[in-house]
């Protein structure tokens, strides 16, 4: 059986979202490795090999500089509940990210972006100050229908 070709949907989705919601942004960084550099972590924890920190870096979908804020964006097309956990993991690390050192002190806004509402996710997000932004695109709907999720 021929292997099904893998398609990068979330990369496209996050870029379309950022372009539509933040046309007046200052900057955007996609696929940001959040937290201290692996070398810094390995120095502080010599019992853990450097390769561990390199391999298991934490990647946020996007960070947007917008209206004096740093907006941490996590997109989930299929399963939005996973995005809640990622945002909570990444948030405390954003201000320790070397590439973002010049923006230290800017307030952080957390956004979970997903194509349809899930009341359970919205309820949990509200208790953690996470904004759930429903962002629907026809091609995403088509994909979800293919999967029988819409």
């Amino acid at each position: 059986m021929a292997r099904k070709e893998y398609t990068q949907r979330e990369r496209r989705y996050v870029q379309e979202y950022v372009n539509e919601r933040f046309p007046d942004r200052e900057f955007v960084i996609y696929n940001v490795a959040v937290g201290p550099a692996p070398e810094t972590l390995a120095k502080a924890h010599p019992e853990i090999p450097l390769e561990h920190f390199r391999r298991w870096r934490l990647y946020a979908d996007a960070i947007v500089g917008w209206h004096g804020l740093l907006v941490l964006v996590e997109t989930k097309i299929r399963n939005p509940k996973l995005g809640l956990g990622y945002l909570l993991q990444y948030a405390p690390l954003v201000h320790q990210t070397p590439e973002l050192a010049v923006y230290i002190g800017r307030p952080l806004q957390l956004r979970l972006v997903t194509p349809r509402e899930d009341p359970r996710v919205i309820q949990v997000a509200a208790t953690h100050n996470i904004i759930v932004d429903i962002f629907y695109k026809p091609w995403v709907g088509e994909y979800l229908r293919e999967l029988g999720l819409m």
Binding site: Q8, R11, R12, Q15, N19, F27, V28, R54, R55
Partner: protein, 104 residues
């Protein structure tokens, strides 16, 4: 002095580039697979580089990474790829290589 026509990414270091407007394209090409040593057909995203780390150059940038190519193609469609400086950081991890892309 080594003269290079291609922009080379360095591990964990951001390379900042300006691309020639409209230059994004995808080429079908054959490479030697570094692991199997066998010829392999691949698709490569290619761009003309006008600036490298804020210095004017006449170079090319290319990538075989599907993940990176999707991001660059999307930014090409919106024009962001040419409107902004583009910083690309390569984080090699064998089969799980990641690229960070900054548009600013």
């Amino acid at each position: 002095m080594v003269l290079e026509n291609f922009v080379r990414l360095i591990r964990d270091t951001e390379k900042v580039m300006k691309f020639r407007p409209g230059s994004f394209h995808v080429e079908d090409t054959t490479i030697r697979d570094p692991k199997t040593k066998q010829p392999k057909r691949v698709r490569r995203a290619v761009l003309d580089v006008l600036e490298e780390d804020y210095r004017p150059v006449v170079k090319m940038f290319s990538t075989l990474s599907e993940k990176l190519a999707v991001q660059l193609e999307q930014a090409h469609r919106t024009g962001d790829l040419y409107r902004y400086h583009v910083g690309i950081t390569w984080r090699p991890m064998d089969l799980a290589t990641e690229y960070t892309v900054r548009l600013f």
